[in-house]
Symmetry: C2
Subunit: 120 residues, 2 copies
């Protein structure tokens, strides 16, 4: 049973209009500590879809060790372009995955970034 | 002139008590678009200190392209351990840098994470 309050649009970074060049998704999730396993399960299932999409490059899923973290889980994913990221979030399969029962327990904050400085 | 409302403790991820093993700092900054250059300048100046600290590994500074981003700048930094991260945030030099005029315009949310999944 899908949950209508969780929309595919609300789970997708707002379109910036700048479609080309490598982009980084930083997706911050609000998860109660007792729900870590449930979150990890549904995230993993949903990530399988993204790993198959054109332009997907890599991901790193992080869990907080800091005790008072506002966002206890953060996914940092590399995409070839914002065009690829947006296209993969406008499919029926994405809509089906993200509106499934379970996701509404885990609000998120998906934002796209450009790397300005890097070393190491 | 230092600003007493910005404390070194408030700028540092709360100690988790787990001191060993590689750790990732994800540090989310609130910056008005008009203040991007001022933020970048003071961040760059402060980052020079961290780049010299024992256990510092790398950083990637990100600027949002998503128009409605809550956190327009995010630094993702790798450290050899939380012990190294915490030690570098308890020096007089860190206290001097972070309480300087300018930083109080840019609230932040520093949290330490372990990587749970990685590919690509």
């Amino acid at each position: 049973m899908s949950n209508e309050s969780v929309t595919a649009e609300g789970r997708t970074a707002t379109d910036s209009g700048n479609r080309s060049g490598p982009i980084v998704l930083i997706n911050c999730f609000t998860v109660w500590q007792q729900r870590d396993d449930a979150f990890h399960d549904i995230w993993f299932q949903t990530s399988a879809y993204f790993r198959e999409q054109p332009g997907y490059r890599s991901l790193r899923l992080h869990r907080a060790v800091t005790p008072d973290a506002r966002y206890r889980w953060v996914n940092v994913a590399q995409w070839a372009s914002e065009a690829d990221y947006q296209a993969s979030h406008r499919t029926e399969e994405f809509r089906r995955l993200i509106t499934q029962k379970g996701w509404d327990d885990f609000p998120n904050l998906p934002v796209l970034y450009k790397v300005v400085e890097a070393d190491g």
